[in-house]
């Protein structure tokens, strides 16, 4: 009984670690599970998409839930993981609302984050043997 509980706890811990790694570094979960090709594609495609969003003057939204849409956009931006913190630390993502590409930049940043969350769910499904 105790052995089963310990095994369950170990597996839960591994799942949490896998999901955290997959969120922090896009594709890390798939690489961990041996799905190299998929992992490498996510590892390249999602940060590049995020970088394009920054390059065309998109904005990393603040966590301001007095305006719900701004708060939700901030959560979506955060979905990309470590690249978000790197960009914030380096002072990128101020956004320029006057730029022609501002809205496109926001779309790239938000969608890159949301796609990474889908990738986390996919890695979880693979680990649980559903795929």
């Amino acid at each position: 009984m105790r052995a089963t509980t310990t095994t369950d706890e170990t597996q839960s811990g591994t799942i949490v670690l896998l999901c955290l790694a997959s969120w922090a570094i896009p594709g890390a979960g798939h690489l961990w599970l041996g799905r190299r090709a998929k992992g490498l594609i996510f590892l390249v495609a999602l940060p590049v998409m995020f970088a394009i969003g920054l390059a065309i003057r998109g904005r990393l939204f603040p966590f301001d839930f007095s305006d719900p849409l701004v708060g939700l956009e901030a959560l979506a931006d955060l979905g990309i993981g470590v690249p978000y913190f790197i960009a914030s630390a380096l002072g990128y993502g101020a956004g320029d609302v006057r730029a022609v590409t501002y809205e496109y930049g926001n779309a790239f940043l938000i969608v890159a984050g949301l796609l990474n969350l889908l990738v986390v769910i996919d890695a979880y499904d693979v680990m649980m043997g559903r795929k």
């Binding site: 998929k38 594609i41 996510f42 495609a45 999602l46 590049v48 998409m49 394009i52 390059a55 065309i56 022609v100 590409t101 496109y104 779309a107 790239f108 969608v111 890159a112 796609l115 889908l118 990738v119 996919d122 795929k131």
Partner: protein
């Protein structure tokens, strides 16, 4: 990079790529799914663009 069509194509490429890789396991299926999705993005944007053309807001 200020062309709206080019930005749309780049956006569609990345979204189609990620969805194809998530949804399908075989390379051939991924290519087919991703290609269809990419073409759908472009076609929808062009068709909607022309439909909105007579109605400037």
């Amino acid at each position: 990079m200020r062309s709206h069509l080019l930005l749309l194509a780049v956006f569609a490429f990345f979204v189609s790529l990620v969805f194809a890789v998530i949804a399908k396991d075989e390379a051939r299926e991924q290519l087919r799914f991703g290609g269809m999705m990419f073409a759908g993005f472009l076609a929808a944007a062009i068709v909607l663009g022309w439909l909105m053309y007579p109605f400037p807001l």
